[in-house]
Subunit: 154 residues, 3 copies
């Protein structure tokens, strides 16, 4: 299955390239493992989905933000690798949800990201290991931040 | 030293297999490195040790929760690898403690996990790199969540 | 370019070796990848830069703390590897800023660390992937904690 074809079949629209938010690279490769920097729910035009789940964002809005982070990660992979078919596997994500102290459904929020990866890369290669946790604040008050480890075809 | 024998010698009781909490795999392997998803202090029967350290859990209770996360991780390793002796080294853990804003003894809490790994895999192979930090909330209000990187025999 | 020479040229003063804060190793190597444990802004004599950014630390003070974490990480690399020139690349950092709920400039804080790595290891090898996030508390109330993945010369 081709991830590039799947994106077309699903009619996914990737956001523009994410502007750098500090002194880091979007993707660093060592051996055949790629490390993607923490990404936010980028919409284009320097706009992100912002807010805290449990306060001014609902669970459903958090899921949509997590999915948008996934689209931004796909954009970066495409920009940096040229072709998404170079990705052989989603290995591991660390996913942070901007949460109130009493919001405890981070896994449900992050499923918005994980479903997208599964739909694009397939059940086997697209579902990775994962940690979904809360944080009390995120850069620019974005709703979700996810960093990702991927395996590349040699 | 055999990790399987050590578990018997120490009389450790591993919890049942941890039910999936979202769209992710418990363990993903790339090369000879295994990534274990964030695990909680699973007790069986869909029950976890819950609460926030500094609020309704003491340091000692937090340590016990961290140890229980370790037992759950051992269960997942055993389920996924068949034999714990396939683990050649504990590489790195990222350990999150559900903490009040003024609780600052995360390393002492997480020692409950690290002591278990040392006892099962030995001083050399069982002690990894580690980060112990706070978070303001965790899924289902669990007390501790730990993700783990392991090295496997080739 | 030699990282050892750069440290001399820049007149950098590394802190003493960081005392262990729990049951973990400062650095674990698997293959040619090194995992450094979460480090704080160590000053020597068991003293760290402490405080919460947005409350009792300014952005500039947070940046200085992030830079100090970098110096502590360089000390550990030097202690553990013997020679900083064994580091072939900064791969990825996870950087946590002790933040109030409404402080959202974590990337700017962590640039204090990233600039140091760039200055020591150069634009190409010294700038890695990165995630900069908030946390509501850190061990001993330190201002910043950073864990780091590095690639080593074979």
């Amino acid at each position: 299955m081709s991830a590039e074809l799947r994106i077309q079949e699903l009619g996914l629209e990737l956001p523009p390239s994410v502007p750098p938010g500090g002194i880091y690279k979007p993707l660093v490769i060592t051996g055949n493992v790629g490390y993607l920097s923490g990404h936010g729910p980028y919409l284009g035009d320097d706009k992100y989905i912002t807010g805290r789940v449990g306060e001014n964002l609902t669970l459903a809005e958090g899921q949509k933000a997590a999915r948008q982070v996934g689209l931004a990660l796909l954009r970066t992979m495409k920009d940096q690798l040229g072709d998404l078919n170079r990705v052989s596997r989603i290995v591991k994500s660390l996913a942070l949800v901007n949460s109130t102290d009493d919001f405890c459904e981070q896994p449900q929020v992050i499923n918005g990201f994980s479903e997208l990866m599964r739909d694009v890369f397939g059940e086997d290669r697209g579902i990775g290991a994962r940690s979904a946790i809360a944080t009390n604040a995120l850069p620019g008050n974005i709703a979700v931040e996810i960093e990702l480890i991927i395996e590349l075809n040699e």
